[in-house]
Every structure is written in C-alpha cells, then in structure tokens.
Amino acid sequence: MTPDIVIVAAAVGLAAGFLGRLAWRKLADRRKGCAGGCGCASKLTGK
C-alpha cells in the first residue's frame, strides 16, 4: 500500500465515521426530544 492510498483511505474512513456518528447522535437527540436544527448546532457537531 502506498502512502497515497493510506492517506486517502484514512480521510474517507474518518469522514464517513464522523457522518455516521452525527446521524447516530441526531437519532439519540430525537429520542431525548430535541428536534435538532439551528439552535442545536453544538449537538449536531457532537460537542
């Protein structure tokens, strides 16, 4: 494996992981009664 492929695979993996986690957190927020959206930007970014 060349460093080129490693860098790209890591970046794509991290990005996909981040989006997956975000979707998971949004679902969790919904269960807690938060509709998400503008006022909840901090929740969307996982902070």
């Binding site: 080129d4 990005a15 996909a16 509709a35 503008c38 969307l44």
Partner: protein, 717 residues
C-alpha cells in the same frame, strides 16, 4: 451538602415593554432582544446580584397581555406563576414590567397577577420615551395606590437599573401583595361555586385565581390541564355564568370592566400629560400607508440585497484568494501522491472553499436584517403582510413563524406554538418551509456569482435574490389558502400587533447575533460540509479507469485538442465513470426536462439532507473535471463553459439563463432539509404531514423548474 436554592423572581409583562432588555440589564446574560411580538418564546433564566452579594434567579417569561391565555406559550406563564410546573415551586416574587407610555393597559396584567396572591413589585419601563412624549408618572403615588414597591426605569438607556435592584430587594424582604379589585357579590359567589365544583371533580384545592380563569375564559384549556373534564365542568360553569348574567354582567367582559374601572381610579393623578404624537407615529403614516407602505417594503428589501452584494464583494475576493493560496501551497507538498493531492485541492479545498466564500454575504445579510429588526421596522413589515395573510386564511400570528422561516425553517416551525388554533398552527407549520431560508442563500449566490452578476450586473443579481425570496411566498400563499379554507377549514382569529417605537439599533446586540450566525456557518463548514466533501470527492474520484481516460485523451488529441484540453477530456471521462457520475447519469433523465445535466443531478441528489451541499458538490465535480486544478474563479468559468456532450443539445451551453433560473426555483421550493422534516413530524405529532410536506414541495419544485426551463427556452429560441 448542596447550596440552598436562590430565591426565584419571575419577570412578566406585556409584549414590547422592554422586558427582555431589562432582564438582560439585570442579569448581564446574552439574550436575543427583538422588537416584534413573540420573540420571547422560551423561558429564560439568569442570575442577578441585587447588591451585597445577594443573588437571585430571574426567570424571563413570554410576554402576554392577559392571564386569559390560550396559546401553549402563554399557558407556561400561568403554570410557572401557579407552581404547576413539575418540580418547581411558585416564584418567591413577581416583577411586573409595565410600559410607562401605556400604563393603564399594562396595569391590567398587574391586576390579574394581584389575584394570584403572590408577592409582586412593579418596574415602569421606557421612562425615557414617556419623558419625550411629555408624560409624567408620580411613582410614590402609584406605589401607594397599588400597595407595592415601584421603580421607574429606562432599560434601553440603562437608567434606573439600580432602583429596580433595590425594589426587588424590598420585595423579597417585605413580600408585598398587590391590592386586589373588589368583585361584586354575584361574581364572588360564582367563583366560590366554580372552585367548589372543580375541587369536587379533581380532588384538589383550586386557587381563587384559577377559579377566575375557569369562570371568565371561554377556552377550556386551563380547566382541562387541571384535570376538570367536560362532563362535570360544563354544567357547573354554565350555572356559575348564569348567576353572573342574572346580576347584569357578561362573564367574559366582567373581568376587564371591573379591573379597568378600579385601575382608572387608581391611576387618577398618577399619570399626567396625555402624550404628544411620537415621531414613530409620524414616520408610520408613510411606512404603513396602504400604497406607500408596500412600496417602501419592496424598496427596503431590494436595497437590502443590493447592499449585501456590494458590501460582500471585497471580502469574498479575499476568501477566494486565500483558498487559492492554500491550494497553491498544498499541491507541491503532496507531489508524487496524485490521489491525496486531488483529495486536498479538488475535494477539501474545492468543496469547503466554494461554501466558505459566501460567509461575507451571510454576515452582511444578518447584519442588515438585524439592524432592521432592532430599529422596529420588522413589526411594520408584519403589519403590511397581515393583509395578505388574512386573505389566504392564515392567522395573523403566522407572521412571526413565517418571518423566522426566512432565517431557518426549524425555529419558524417551533414558534408556531404561539398559535392557539391547532388547525391554524398546522397550516402555518406547513407553509414555513416554503420561506427562503438562509441555507438557500449560498445556492442563489453561486448562481448569481457565476451567471447573473457577470452577464447582467449587480442590479439584476438583487432582483433575482428578491425574486427567489418571493417565489416561496408566492407558492405558500395559495397552498395556505387551500389548506385553511378547503382542507382544514380554519376559523379566522383576531390578531393584536403592538407596534414598538422606532429606535436606533443596539449595534452590540446586532453584532453579537451576526457573530453567532457566522460562527455557526464556519462550524458547519468545518464539520458537516468538510466530512461530506471528502465522501463526495471519493464517490466522484473512484473507481479509476486509466484505459478509459487514455482513450478520451486520444480522441481529444485526434480532434486537434491542445494538451491541456486533452487532459481535461481525460479527467472528465474519469468523473463520468465514477460512482457519483454513474448515479447522476442514471437519474439525470428525471431532471432532463428542467435542463439539469448529470452533474447538476448529482448536486441535487446530494442536497436532499441539506440543500447547501450542492455548492460544495458542484465545486468538487467541476474541479475534478478540470485537470488545471481549478481555482474558485475558474469554477465559475468552468460552469459557464460546460457543454452538453450528447443528445439533441450536444455542443450547446448547459447553464443558460432558463437552466440557472430553473435550478434556483427548484431550490427555492424543494424540501431539502432533513432537520426540517423531522421537526415538522414532531410538531404535527406524526409523519403524515411531514410526508405530505415533502411530497408536495418536491413535486412542486420539479414542476416549477420544468416550467421555468421549458418556457424560458421557448422564449429565448
């Protein structure tokens, strides 16, 4: 051991009394201060030092004119004051904020609060405006007549805040209760009957103030929330109201008649000077004029967008230059790693850069809207638009949610809670996503920057922007008309809108709000957009087929293309062969009647979770199709030069004026926001209306885009 809870003070008052400004001044907390009614929709609290380290908790409650509240928002006030919020005792003190320029009407709420029996003090706010209008208020006399401590304050100017603190301290120490009105015998007896019947039915003691609400209010919401069901309630209330009628009084009118009669006596000699016509009233004669008002409104909106473009032009060029500088810096350091180089320059910097470039426009838009809002003009805009809403059957209270929808549909849908009628609430929530939210702005801005601006100039850019903001409204009005008049059959409801005086905007508050939106935009670019650009890049980059690229290069060379053009042809073949390209090409026939090629189709598909994603997606697909390592300016050039490669339009430009307008109209109408759909489902209690909204908006968007493209193309040919 936990510390003892702080004494709690509830701040109540009519809308537009400067209640939130006073709350800010007392607590020092940042809070949105608006001039149109309904801005305080959530309960807010903060800690206040009354002096000598004596801390209290202040609770800012939504503004209301009377305790005869029916909207969910107003019910919160009664629940807090009566201690009916689970886990919360009634407040230790109530601070009633009154407007010095309209003391009689404001004291009506104070008279109702007196009936609660809670300790209460008064803050008479907007003293500066009263002074300007020649109104004098004898504060010691008022305090004596009402039987409590009163402070005169101008929260906006910061005058008298220390006096309010002293008044609150005195209120906590002496616990004064406002003097009550005296009820005629028949009403007192009817109230006793109501309290007894409700106690028998619910098994709980009913406070006298609640019994008054049961007797006087026509809406049964409070009785129902107290657990007094209709079968037991209705005969008891009918009997009690009949008793009041027999005494010659009309039950719903009795309460204001008795309170106002007593308050007029109490305020005799307290308020001197009837007030001159304010400058605001003089200005309003023009801005609220039947004909001139809407004309001024249109001119303001056109000027607003024109200013946004003019002011943002320079900063946008700086960002473009910055992104290009970063690309030039990153490319050599990744020499020998073509994949990683493409990821960084075409993917991340191309995608995030294309999105971030609109930051100045967002900042100036929020700045100018914030200045208009703080100046008091937005309430006038509500007044002007109310005629239109009344015609289409929407409640007058729909204006605030619909106006919020222009920033973001989610707070707009949430603020429909202030509408009492559930059907009117549903119709408004359905109409809100049609309003052109700020996420649509980068999409319009991209089309304006790439096509309308360079070809037609800044004025037409502004006209296109205003037009796109009106498109949503144009569709929302007939849809609301059908929903309210035919499907839901909403009953018309009265709407009270108090116009605040004009004032110089508080620049600090406006700048704070601008910063909040700018920061949110940057966060979005650094998180969601950043991650999505990487995923979209990967989908547009893989799989690689070098043989296919070589064939495309050879064909281009055979046709006489120079080496750069041959490279571009090879890159374009790779993108077309990518997963994203294959998906776009297979779905493109659906969007073909609207003039969208496969790249635009990919952009549209990627934008369904969040519409602004199209900007970064187009940034990537066009950068990948250009072997030159497209900088941001050449993204616009690449889009301008894009040609159909096959079919009857082969060789002609993809982005004609009809295509650009069709794309903008599609984004103006389409339901492309996952969060909005979820919020709509939550607020309407199920997925039915969210599903109907999604289907209606998306179908309408497609039909409108096709109509714009087909009619536009026919007219231009």
């Amino acid at each position: 051991m936990s510390a003892a809870p702080l004494p709690r003070i509830a701040v109540v008052g009519n809308p537009n009394t400067g209640k939130s400004t006073l709350f800010n001044a007392l607590t020092g907390l940042r809070q949105r201060v608006g001039n149109y009614p309904g801005v305080t929709v959530a309960r807010k609290s903060g800690t206040c030092d009354l002096g000598g380290g004596r801390l209290v908790e202040l609770i800012d409650l939504p503004g209301l004119y009377s305790l005869a509240a029916v909207s969910p928002d107003e019910r919160v006030v009664i629940d807090v004051l009566l201690g009916r919020i689970p886990g919360e005792a009634p407040p230790d003190l109530v601070l009633v904020v009154c407007d010095a320029t309209n003391l009689l009407r404001n004291c009506f709420l104070a008279a109702q609060i007196a009936e609660l029996g809670l300790p209460a003090v008064l803050a008479v706010n907007q003293a500066d405006v009263a002074r300007e209008r020649g109104i004098e208020i004898d504060i010691p006399l008022l305090a004596g007549r009402l039987g409590t401590a009163v402070a005169l304050v101008s929260a906006w100017k910061g005058e008298g805040i220390a006096d309010v603190r002293r008044t609150l301290l005195r209120g906590l120490d002496q616990r004064p209760v406002l003097r009550r009105s005296e009820w005629p015998e028949a009403i007192a007896a009817a109230l006793a009957e109501v309290a007894a019947a409700a106690r028998d039915a619910t098994g709980r003691d009913i406070p006298p103030a609640l019994a008054q609400r049961f007797l006087f209010d026509s809406a049964p919401t409070l009785a129902e929330s107290a657990g007094w069901a209709a079968p037991a309630r209705e005969p008891a209330l009918r009997a009690a109201r009949d008793r009041v009628r027999r005494a010659g009084l009309n039950p719903p009118a009795a309460e204001p008649l008795i309170h106002y009669a007593r308050l007029r006596r109490d305020l005799e000699g307290v308020v001197r000077g009837t007030g001159r016509e304010s400058r605001s009233a003089a200005v309003d004669r023009i801005l609220l004029h039947r004909v001139l008002g809407p004309v001024c409104f249109a001119v303001f909106m056109l000027g607003l967008f024109w200013s946004v473009f003019a002011l943002a032009k320079g900063p946008m060029e700086w960002i473009l230059a910055g992104v290009d500088g970063l690309k030039a810096l990153a490319a050599p350091s990744l020499e020998g790693m073509p994949m990683a180089q493409s990821l960084v320059t075409d993917g991340i910097l191309g995608g995030v850069g294309a999105f971030l470039v609109f930051l100045p426009q967002i900042a100036f838009l929020f700045l100018l809207v914030g200045l208009l809002e703080d100046s008091g003009y937005m309430a006038r805009a509500a007044f002007i638009m109310d005629r239109l809403f009344g015609w289409c059957g929407l409640n007058g209270k729909s204006f605030v949610p619909l106006l919020s929808g222009f920033a973001c549909a989610i707070p707009g849908i949430l603020s429909t809670r202030t509408i009492e009628d559930p059907k009117a609430r549903l119709a408004t929530a359905f109409a809100v996503p049609f309003m052109s939210c700020s996420a649509r702005f980068p999409v319009y801005a991209l089309m304006c920057a790439a096509f309308i601006g360079p070809q037609h100039g800044a004025l037409w850019e502004s006209v296109a922007m205003v037009g796109m903001h009106l498109v949503g409204l144009l569709f929302a009005v007939p849809i609301a008309f059908i929903l309210t008049r035919v499907v839901l059959r909403v009953r018309p409801a009265p709407f009270v809108l108090e116009l605040p005086r004009y004032q110089l905007p508080k620049v600090k508050d406006v700048l704070w709000r601008v910063w909040q939106s700018v920061w949110e935009f940057i966060q979005k670019a650094g998180t969601i957009i950043f991650a999505l650009t990487i995923v979209v890049w990967a989908l547009s980059y893989f799989p690689r087929d070098e043989a296919l690229a070589e064939r495309a290069r050879a064909v281009a060379v055979a046709k006489g293309a120079d080496p750069a053009a041959a490279d571009a042809a090879a890159a374009a073949a790779q993108v077309e062969n990518s997963w994203m390209g294959r998906m776009g090409k297979s779905i493109q026939p659906v969007f073909d009647p609207a003039g969208f090629d496969w790249k635009l189709t990919v952009g549209v598909l990627a934008s369904f979770p969040a519409r602004e994603v199209i900007v970064s997606t187009l940034g990537i697909t066009y950068a990948l199709g250009e072997e030159t390592g497209a900088d941001s300016e050449s993204l616009y050039a690449a889009m301008r030069e894009a040609r159909w490669t096959e079919g009857p339009r082969a060789g002609t430009a993809i982005f004609t004026l009809p295509t650009v307008l069709a794309l903008m109209v599609f984004f103006a109408l389409c339901s492309q926001c996952g969060s909005t759909i979820v919020t709509l489902a939550r607020e309407t209690g199920g997925w039915k209306w969210a599903g109907i909204s999604f289907a209606t908006m998306t179908t309408l968007a497609w039909l409108a885009a096709v109509a714009v493209y087909q009619v536009g193309t026919a007219l231009m040919s």
